[in-house]
Amino acid sequence: MEQNVPESTVQKTTESHRPHWGRILVWVGVLGLLAILALGLRRAQQGPVSVGDQVPNFTLTTFDGETINLTDLKGKVVVLNFWASWCKPCEQEAADLETAWLTYQPRGDVVFLGVDYVDTEPEARGYLEKFNITYPNGPDLGTRISQAFRIRGVPETYIIDQDNVLRAVQIGPFRDLSQIQSMIDPLLQ
């Protein structure tokens, strides 16, 4: 016995087997957006570089035009200081940092680098002159270095060992010269 299947039922069955490209596209878009959001949130919550972490490589072009790459400084202790001319607490530690630099400079195994954060060049140069700072300093072009270290403000100082591993962090200005030395000396023994 032949059964008559209604036409509408046949149409419905074919429709249900057809992939819903529109829906698939929407879901792919939504999931893609969620993935981007998740990555952004993860990055934002990472926090600053921690002690014991490998320090991200960076290139600093100094105000004198010299280019310094962190990987080229392997084998030396690097004191990386973030500062700005508009930053009053930075002025508190400027003289101590310069004194520390002059103390370690003859040894040759300690390098001081100043990264000028979100600053204007004439004022930055004026600051360096005012405090007679002689170690290499340069602008944080594109705020790339500060973003790599995810700094929270200035001044901040990062003490990096001979293998480019972060060994100490100073948030805010150093109290005095002895505090700077207490962070560097253990790495030189």
Binding site: V26, G29, L33, I36, A84, S85, W86, V118, D119, T120, E123, P139, L141, G142, T143, R144, Q147
Partner: protein, 160 residues
């Protein structure tokens, strides 16, 4: 003779004034106004004071930036050149409007797409709400007439 001498003095005085004015114009070009500086500053954000446009930001860092804009305008830089200088120095994030490249495109694409998708979803929802009312208005469904059980039932009822 006296009139002649006075005329000469007057001419020299006028000439000196003219030369002085010209010199002053040469060494001190018209300084940019606050409005000109702020027109550019309001398109920039200093990373130190997030979410505060540069033209109304009160920190020393922002004041230095505004001075720099004034200086660049005084040197004859265009608005685009100044904005590019700030991007080169401090990165894209100083711009109030992110440049349309890379992932930034999402900022321009996602909101209109989301609005269109919302409109489409609402349209579909309104359509589905209207459909049951239309079905109820119909006196009899054609499917019911072809239903064998219904036909038999009607026939039995008619017989009684």
């Amino acid at each position: 003779m006296k009139l002649f001498r006075n005329t000469i003095f007057l001419s020299i005085f006028v000439a000196m004034l003219a030369v002085g004015g010209a010199l002053a114009q040469g060494t001190n070009p018209q300084a940019p106004t606050d409005d000109q500086v702020n027109a550019i500053a309001k398109q920039l954000y200093c990373p130190v004071c997030e979410n505060i446009p540069l033209d109304v930001c009160g920190t020393q860092a922002c004041a230095q930036w505004r001075d720099l804009i004034r200086q660049k305008l005084g040197e004859g830089w265009s608005e685009a050149q100044i904005k590019q200088y700030f991007v080169d120095q401090y990165g894209d994030r100083v711009l109030a409007t992110p440049p349309a490249r890379g992932l930034n495109w999402l900022v321009y694409i996602v909101p209109p797409v989301a609005i269109l998708a919302g409109i489409f979803i609402l349209y579909r929802a309104f359509q589905s709400w209207r459909q049951p009312v239309a079905t109820e208005a119909q006196p009899e469904s054609p499917v019911e007439q072809t239903d064998e059980y219904a036909l038999r039932l009607e026939e039995e009822l008619r017989k009684r």
